[in-house]
């Protein structure tokens, strides 16, 4: 047996809601305005009842609000305004003082059709939910993930050392080699025409190609050699206790196993080659990381300029 509650009780219920609730008629005039709306808009019921919502909040015109509300009147569907697209449909101040990176309240808004006895939609009920906290938590989680990635030493795609880690290690090794009077070689590898792989087969194929490339190079290295991912399709090799002659042997081995390999992704197979520039500290003693990198890079450039798929010495 359904109990009919008195209208005063309904009013109290509506005013107790922890979300904004207001009702508009077909002329967009406010017919109901709950306490939450009063508190957050700074406009009392007396000030808004009977007024055009567009006049009270002029910026609504630009936010697809009336378009969607009209659809609710004509078609009777529910309309949704997500926080992701609209953040603050209504510019109310954010409420939590402690938490806050947002000045305006982040909102999720739903518009519901209200039908007359005949079935026509003659009013709409708009509900505003404050989702600021949820958004803050979501942003925090994203930031944590990012920080975690930065702190880790591994490039998440290819699982070789990331750039920062490689460069730190290179610095350490340079110092150690200088102290011990040993020679170290440094090479930069760049995949030839990598852009074509992405363009022809898509980014997912490109990503897989990078993973396979890194694996293949790693497999051609010796025990103490180190590979790091420097950039998109650029990798660095650190060959400790290795002079130029020995470095060339290693790199030539890498180059040819690459050139001979067939890469596979779904039903597609293709080949790749890489150009390489190598520098040795025996030829350039006392140079720091930056200068050595630059020399290797120049050698790489020459490898590219003279036909690719080759190893050039600095």
């Amino acid at each position: 047996m359904a109990e009919q509650l008195g209208s005063d009780v309904y009013q109290q219920i509506i005013d107790s809601l922890s979300q904004g609730t207001f009702v508009l008629d077909r002329e967009m005039r406010v017919v109901l305005w709950n306490r939450w709306m009063e508190q957050h808009s700074g406009l009392s019921k007396a000030q808004v009842i009977g007024k055009d919502i567009g006049a009270l909040f002029p910026h609504l015109k630009a936010k697809a609000f009336f378009w969607k509300v009209n659809n609710v009147f004509t078609l009777g569907n529910f309309a949704f305004f997500s926080q992701e697209l609209h953040s603050s449909l209504f510019s109310f101040s954010a409420t939590s003082f402690l938490n806050n990176s947002f000045e305006t309240m982040q909102q999720s808004v739903i518009v519901a059709p209200i039908r007359s006895v005949g079935g026509q939609v003659d009013m709409v009920c708009v509900s505003i939910s404050d989702v600021t906290d949820a958004v803050i938590n979501r942003e925090r989680l994203k930031a944590s993930k990012k920080r975690l990635e930065e702190l880790s030493r591994i490039d998440h795609l290819t699982e070789v050392a990331n750039r920062r880690h490689f460069m730190e290690h290179l610095e350490q090794e340079l110092n150690r080699h200088a102290r011990q009077g040993k020679t170290l070689s440094l090479a930069i590898l760049d995949i030839d025409h990598f852009k074509n792989v992405n363009d022809e087969h898509g980014h997912l194929c490109g990503d897989k190609a990078l993973v396979d490339f890194a694996k293949l190079v790693s497999a051609s290295l010796r025990k103490y050699d180190m590979i790091g991912r420097y950039g998109g399709e650029e990798f660095c090799l650190l060959l400790p206790a290795t002079d130029m002659e020995a470095a060339m042997v290693v790199l030539e081995r890498v180059r040819s196993s690459l050139a001979n390999a067939v890469f596979q992704w779904e039903e597609v197979s293709f080949k790749m080659t890489a150009s390489m520039g190598v520098v040795s500290t025996e030829d350039h003693p006392d140079l720091g990381v930056d200068r050595l990198m630059r020399l290797a890079d120049e050698a790489l450039y020459h490898a590219k300029a003279s036909g690719r798929n080759k190893v050039m010495m600095a």
């Binding site: 910026h59 697809a64 659809n71 569907n77 309309a79 949704f80 697209l85 997912l204």
Partner: protein, 208 residues
């Protein structure tokens, strides 16, 4: 309960046909122009067939936007509206021309908003009429939009995750003047099929 018999399949097809007509008329009011309706198919198929259907009609280089909206009530599941290629963009232009509103939003956001709203309307109208024909009312969650390249693994994963297979209903609409084609899929959870089949039987008894 004998599952999807041929007569039930035909009945659901007809119900969706009627419901979709309502949805398309609603959309036409919002967009202007004439929309072409396809004859809907009702199949108990695997999500892979969804991918095949879409792949067959969409160029490889294209992106497809998927709007997904869950509904619940006596029967429940998910509706997915797939808008391939330029459809989203063209919808945006149609809405701006017809709706005559000059939005203050960035183009990217506006495009997403239009895609969401159009999907919301089509799905709501179609499901609304379908449930009314079966004498029930359902409620909807807010729609979510995803953008994929048609060849992407993630796209396939997303569709595949819609299993285990339930009832798949699919149909499409196309706009006469602009390149806007939409594919509407309904995935009905196999947990509600008993209810659905018994209501369909009632409908048949009453109306045929």
């Amino acid at each position: 309960m004998n599952g999807l018999t041929e007569i039930r399949r035909q009945a659901i097809e007809e119900l969706i046909n009627i419901s979709f007509g309502q949805a398309v008329a609603s959309l036409a009011e919002v967009l202007g122009g004439h929309l072409q309706l396809d004859v809907p198919k009702v199949q108990a198929v695997s999500p892979l067939e969804v991918i095949n259907i879409l792949s067959a009609s969409i160029e490889e280089k294209d992106e497809v936007s998927l709007v997904q909206q869950a509904f619940s009530g006596d029967f429940f599941g998910e509706a997915v509206l797939a808008l391939p290629g330029k459809a989203g963009e063209n919808l945006m232009y149609l809405v701006m021309e017809d709706g005559g509103f000059t939005p203050d939003m960035e183009i990217d956001k506006l495009r997403l908003e239009v895609i969401l709203e159009v999907s919301n309307i089509v799905i709501g109208a179609c499901m609304g009429q379908f449930s009314a024909l079966l004498n029930t009312v359902i409620s909807y969650s807010p729609p979510n939009v995803f953008l994929y390249k048609i060849t992407s693994d993630r796209f396939r994963e997303h569709i595949r995750a819609k299993g285990p297979e339930a009832l798949l209903i699919y149909t499409k609409f196309a706009h006469q003047e602009r390149e806007v084609t939409g594919y509407l899929f309904f995935f009905l959870s196999d947990q509600c099929l008993d209810w659905l089949y018994s209501e369909v039987d009632n409908f048949l008894d009453f109306n045929t």
